[in-house]
Amino acid sequence: MKKADLKKTFEPLTTGVFKNNATFRLVLGTCPTLAVTTSAVNGLSMGLATLFVLVCSNALVSMLRNFIPRKVRIPAYILVIATFSTLVEMIMRKFLPDLYESLGLFLSLVVVNCILLARAESFASLNPVIPSVLDGIGIGLGFTFSLTLLGFIRELMGAGSIFGYELGFLVEAGLPMTVFILPAGGFMVYGFMMVIFNAVVKTVENKLAARKAAAGGDE
């Protein structure tokens, strides 16, 4: 396989994490993003659950893409997604009951996460299995990354702990502000993170474009 082909095959993986980051760029799946990120562990596990469902549903939708009639495609996708999200729900209830409790309603609501339907409709239904799986992994990792990051910030600022370990000196100094754990803090952190992410992506893109232009000038 030529290098260019390889690069193209793996492209969905990297664009999913940065350029098409579901949370900050596409603004999809905002409900779980805001609701479960009160701590880093919750964010991480929700991200991983979504990643699993996304990879499975992308693979299945891609396999079935030539069999599903165009008219009933949306109910068909929802059924595929619902099957896998029920599976995750049952596994988590059995093996991780604490996590199941803290994610609560939102675990069942993975099924209406717009990321899943959006990827099934706009990517998996048009592409072969392998790119679809890679796209699922990329988007899923990007989602997990942003959820963990948001959870990390909110936990640190709101409860003075990192991944559940309390930082004594922060608490003693009276730094933790409960507002970050409250819904209002969720909106606020999300808003500011989006500002930063947008600014960074824009700067990087401008630099890349400038470099490309410079390289093109040399040739």
Partner: protein
């Protein structure tokens, strides 16, 4: 009767669907550019939530009787998707004026997690459940959604005229406005019983 009142206050203010439960954020951010469209979306949501609450409650009785609670998510989402199609056909046939008012918002509601959220919540989280309470909870949650989206739409209309830094344009500034609304709604948590 007191319980009904409590349900309404709880769903509209204390545990507002959008601002404290984080359900239905996508339409909250997506369809809140103008107050008219926000109102249209709100009414469609109230309508669907009320109907969906009753129907999913009845279906859940059957599921529990059969010992198949694990099928809840799949069955509910399919029922809601089908229900929205039905409602669309029904409204189109019997009230064209309402249909044109709701427009594209009806099909969009399928992916509104608030509807599935209220259906699941009715059967898992309510202290006392019967059909009436489920219906009231559904409608009141819809009203809560409408109030939140109307407030945000009002703010966004004003923001159109404001001079906003480049990186803040679009979603970020909307999220920050939502944050301030959520902060004021947090005060209602003192009302919880």
């Amino acid at each position: 009767m007191p319980y009904v009142l409590l349900l309404v206050i709880n769903a509209v203010f204390v545990n507002n669907f959008v601002l404290s439960r984080f359900l239905g954020i996508c339409p909250f951010l997506g369809v809140s550019k103008k107050t008219e469209t926000a109102l249209g979306m709100g009414i469609a949501v109230i309508f669907v939530m009320g109907v969906a609450s009753v129907i999913t409650y009845a279906i859940d009785l059957a599921l529990v009787a059969g010992g198949m609670e694990y099928l809840r998510t799949i069955v509910f989402i399919l029922v809601i998707a089908a229900l929205i199609q039905l409602v669309e056909i029904f409204v189109k046939r019997f009230s064209p004026s309402l249909y044109s008012a709701l427009g594209v918002y009806l099909p969009l509601i399928t992916t509104n997690c608030a509807v599935l959220g209220v259906a699941i919540m009715n059967v898992t989280e309510l202290a006392e459940v019967n059909v009436l309470y489920a219906f009231v909870n559904g409608v009141a949650s819809g009203v809560g959604f409408t109030i939140a989206i109307l407030i945000l739409a009002g703010i966004r209309e004003k923001l159109e005229l404001a001079d906003i830094p480049d990186s803040f344009k679009g979603f970020p500034i909307t999220l920050l406005s939502a944050s301030i609304i959520a902060l004021s709604f947090a005060a209602f948590s003192g009302l919880s019983f």
